[in-house]
Amino acid sequence: MISYNEILSLLKQKTPFVFVDKVIEHEKGKRIVSLKNVTGSELFSALHFPDNPVYPGIFIIESIAQTTAIMCSLAMEENENNEIKFLALGGIQRFNFYKPVRPGDTLKIEVEVVKLLEQMAIVKATAKVNDTLVAEGQMTFGAVKDE
């Protein structure tokens, strides 16, 4: 398990733009599972939409991207010559949203590597709430130097 504090040390993003609360499973360079608790105290809940809060889909994508970044960070940390500092979302080949996510839900993000190279990755990801699929897709990432 990887705690929130450890996650903060692995990600470039800082709170409140951290969309992963905990990593509950991790197979180095292969697979990772994280949780994101969606709460009514987050800014979106008052605005998206008033009286009908729905967790923005783009935040689900960001949760997947950050979960992938954590996995790649852990996969690359033993490489001493690693100059790569930042994993950037390069493309979304396919992504579907199936059900709305609302305050009180816990998102379970599962990311599975399709192909992981030193500086690029393709992953398949699912987002579930109570074992119900709410979103899934495939994305590519490219590692870039932090300038």
């Binding site: 390069g90 493309g91 030193e118 690029m120 393709i122 590519t140 990432f141 490219g142």
Partner: protein, 80 residues
């Protein structure tokens, strides 16, 4: 569908070009504006289709449709 046609289909779907419009010798990067992430998508799709593993360092050889076909056939020959 033969191997060449299937690979052409896979590549065209990923690069979003009609099968009749793709020049098999056109450079993905220089002529079609395809970046390395898209090339990685092609590599992963080919691996998945044929159950082969293409060495990551050979990604740089996947510069045209004909080169992708050649590389795939080479790996199919090794695994058959």
């Amino acid at each position: 569908m033969n191997c060449e046609e299937r690979i052409k289909e896979i590549v065209c779907e990923i690069v979003e070009v009609a099968k009749d419009d793709i020049n098999p010798d056109a450079s993905f990067m220089d002529d079609m504006g395809i970046d390395s992430l898209r090339a990685l998508e092609i590599l992963a799709a080919i691996e998945n289709e044929y159950g082969i593993t293409i060495e990551p360092e050979r990604l740089r050889e996947m510069t045209t449709l004909n080169n992708v076909i050649k590389l795939t056939k080479e790996h199919l020959g090794e695994t058959q």
